[in-house]
C-alpha cells in the first residue's frame, strides 16, 4: 500500500484529502503543522508528501528545505498545496525541489489523478 503524508494546518483539508485518497486504497498520514510533518516524514518514509505552503510558524518552503537537505527524506517526492496561481511560486518551488502543484480548492478527480501520476512516475524511477 502506498503511503501519502499530508501536511496542512487546515483540518478540513487534511480530512478531505484523507477521505479521497483512502478511497483509492492509499494509506494517508496527516500532520497539522510543519514540524510534526517533518518528524512524521522521517519516521514513516512516505511515497509522496503533499505540503501546504501557507502555514503559521514553519511554512511550506521551510519544511521543503528541511526535507531536501535530510538524507533520510530527500528522495521523497513533494507536491505543494497552494492557493496561489502565480507562476513565480511555481518557478521558485521547482528550484527548491518540489515536483508538482495542487491548487486549493481542488476537485477529487484532479487530486486523485495528480497523486496517481506522481506515484507511478516515482515507481518507474525506483524500478529502473
Amino acid at each position: 500500500m502506498k503511503k501519502v503524508l499530508v501536511i496542512d494546518d487546515e483540518k478540513d483539508i487534511l480530512e478531505l484529502i484523507s477521505i479521497i485518497l483512502s478511497d483509492e486504497g492509499i494509506d494517508v498520514y496527516k500532520a497539522e503543522n510543519g514540524g510534526l510533518g517533518y518528524d512524521t516524514a522521517r519516521e514513516i518514509k512516505p511515497d509522496l508528501i503533499l505540503l501546504d505552503i501557507m502555514m503559521p510558524e514553519l511554512d511550506g518552503w521551510e519544511v521543503l528545505k528541511m526535507l531536501k537537505i535530510d538524507d533520510e527524506t530527500k528522495r521523497i517526492p513533494v507536491a505543494m498545496l497552494t492557493c496561489k496561481t502565480e507562476t513565480r511560486d511555481k518557478v521558485f518551488g521547482i528550484q527548491e525541489g518540489a515536483i508538482d502543484y495542487i491548487t486549493k480548492p481542488f476537485s477529487p478527480e484532479d487530486l486523485v489523478a495528480r497523486v496517481g501520476a506522481i506515484l507511478t512516475k516515482a515507481n518507474g524511477r525506483e524500478n529502473r
Binding site: D12, L16, I19
Partner: protein
C-alpha cells in the same frame, strides 16, 4: 460497512463544498459556511455583535488587484492576532465571499456567559482601529491613502422569530458596513479628542539634542525635541504635529512644547542657547508679542537672548510680507531666528533671502553620506559663501558618521548635531 461508506461520502461532499467556499489565501471561511454556526449561537445569546472591515475600493482601481490582495492579507493577519488576544474561541471571523474581501467578525459574548454590549464592541473596535492604523503605516504611505486604508463599523443582529434568519443576518451585515463609512470620521474625531487631551494634560515628553561647535567640540546649545508619550493615536511626533496642523491646533500644541522645554532647562542652560521649534504659523502666536512667553523665559532665570526660534515651514508661506514682519518683530524683542530643514520641504531660498536668519539648519537628508556623494558636497559648499553674505551661520543636522563629520569640517561648517555626537535625551543638571 456500506453505511460507513455513505457517511464518508457525505462528509467528503460537505468538505468539498466547504473547501470551495473557504478563502484559502486569507485563511477565513465565507458567510454561507458559517451561517449555521451563527444561527446556533444566537439561540443562547439573543444578540450578536457584528464588526465589518471594508478596504477602500479605490486602492484597487488605482494600484491593481495584486496590491489590494496584499492589503487584504495584512488585515487578515491583524484580525487573526485580534482573535487570539481579545476574542473568545466561539467568535467567528468570516469574509463576504472568496477572493472578494470584506471581513466580518461575529462576536457572541462579552464574558463567557454575559451578553455582548455596545461598550464591549467599542473596545474591540478601538483595538482593531488602533492595530490597523499602527500596522499599516507602510502601506498607507505607499498607496497614498495616509489616513486609512479601510473602514471599520459595527452593528448588532437581534434574534427575531418573524424574520428568516439568513435575511436578518445579511441585513445586519449591511448595517455594520454602512456604519463603517460613518466611523472613519469618528476615528478622526477620537484622534482629535486625544490631541486635545495631550494639550490639556501637557502629555508630551521633551528631549534635548546638543548642538556642537565642529571645530573644538564645545556644546553651543540644545535643540528641544518633542516626543509623544501615548502611542495609541499618534505613532510619532511628526504625525502628531501634522495632525495638529490639519486640525488647526498647532499653535496650542507648540505652546505646551515650548513651555515644557523652557521649564525643563531651568538653571541648566548655563550660557548655552536653547533652540525651540516653531511653525511658520506659530511665529504669529500672540504670546510672543504680548510678553507672556518672555515672562516665562525670564521666570526660569534665562533671557530671550538665549532663545533661538527654529522656524519650520510645514506649509508654503502664502503671505511672505506678513511672515517677514512677524519674524522681524521677534528679532527686535531679542530672539534669534533659525530656518529649519534648509534644502528640504518648503524652506525655499526665497524665504532665506528675505529673512536673513542668524542660523541656517541644513537638512539631514543632504548631510546623509555627504562624504560619498560629490554632488551633495558641492551643493553645501555652494551655500557657504551665500550664508556668509547674509550673515548666517550654518548648522548641519543629523550627522551620523565620522566620515560625514570630517567632510563638514573640511568645508568649514561651524556647527552640527546628530547621533554621531549625541542622541536626543534628557538634559542633565550638571552637564557642561
Amino acid at each position: 460497512m456500506k453505511k460507513e461508506k455513505d457517511v464518508a461520502n457525505l462528509r467528503k461532499e460537505w468538505l468539498l463544498f466547504k473547501g470551495a467556499l473557504f478563502d484559502h489565501e486569507l485563511g477565513f471561511p465565507t458567510i454561507p459556511i458559517v451561517v449555521n454556526d451563527v444561527r446556533k449561537s444566537i439561540g443562547s445569546f439573543q444578540k450578536i455583535g457584528i464588526v465589518y472591515v471594508d478596504v477602500i475600493e479605490s486602492i484597487e482601481i488605482i494600484h491593481g488587484w495584486q496590491k489590494f490582495d496584499q492589503i487584504l492579507l495584512r488585515l487578515a493577519n491583524i484580525l487573526k492576532g485580534l482573535r487570539s488576544d481579545l476574542m473568545h474561541s466561539e467568535d467567528i471571523i468570516a469574509i463576504k465571499a472568496s477572493k472578494v474581501g470584506g471581513f466580518i467578525v461575529f462576536i457572541f459574548s462579552k464574558d463567557t456567559d454575559e451578553e455582548v454590549d455596545k461598550e464591549f464592541m467599542k473596545t474591540i473596535m478601538d483595538a482593531l482601529q488602533e492595530r490597523i492604523f499602527s500596522r499599516t503605516e507602510d502601506l498607507r504611505r505607499k498607496y497614498l491613502f495616509p489616513k486609512t486604508i479601510c473602514h471599520v463599523g459595527m452593528d448588532f443582529l437581534y434574534f427575531d422569530p418573524v424574520v428568516r434568519f439568513e435575511r436578518n443576518l445579511y441585513s445586519a451585515i449591511d448595517r455594520a458596513k454602512n456604519n463603517a463609512y460613518s466611523q472613519t470620521t469618528s476615528f478622526w474625531e477620537r484622534r482629535n479628542q486625544e490631541l486635545k487631551r495631550i494639550i490639556i494634560n501637557n502629555d508630551i515628553r521633551t528631549v534635548f539634542q546638543p548642538i556642537l561647535n565642529l571645530g573644538n567640540g564645545d556644546i553651543t546649545g540644545y535643540e528641544a525635541l518633542t516626543r509623544v508619550s501615548s502611542l495609541e493615536f499618534f505613532n510619532d511626533a511628526e504625525t502628531l504635529f501634522s495632525f495638529a496642523v490639519q486640525t488647526e491646533m498647532i499653535l496650542e500644541l507648540e505652546r505646551i512644547c515650548r513651555k515644557n522645554a523652557v521649564k525643563m532647562v531651568k538653571y541648566a542652560l548655563k550660557n548655552k542657547k536653547l533652540f525651540l521649534n516653531v511653525s511658520a504659523k506659530g511665529v504669529m502666536d500672540p504670546e510672543f508679542m504680548d510678553g507672556k512667553f518672555m515672562k516665562g523665559v525670564e521666570d526660569t532665570g534665562h533671557s530671550v537672548n538665549d532663545i533661538v526660534l527654529e522656524i519650520t515651514e510645514r506649509l508654503a508661506i502664502k503671505d511672505i510680507e506678513l511672515f517677514k514682519s512677524a519674524v522681524k518683530k521677534l528679532e527686535s524683542s531679542g530672539f534669534s531666528v533659525a530656518i529649519d530643514d534648509v534644502g528640504a520641504g518648503y524652506s525655499t531660498l526665497h524665504t532665506i533671502a528675505e529673512l536673513r536668519p542668524t542660523y541656517l539648519k541644513y537638512d539631514m537628508a543632504l548631510i546623509r553620506d555627504i562624504n560619498k556623494h560629490a554632488i551633495k558636497r558641492d551643493l553645501l559648499e555652494s551655500l557657504v559663501p551665500f550664508a556668509k553674505k547674509i550673515n548666517s551661520t550654518i548648522i548641519a543636522e543629523g550627522i551620523e558618521t565620522k566620515g560625514e563629520f570630517e567632510v563638514l569640517k573640511e568645508i568649514g561648517i561651524e556647527y552640527g548635531q546628530g547621533f554621531f555626537f549625541a542622541k536626543p535625551g534628557p538634559l542633565l543638571r550638571d552637564e557642561t
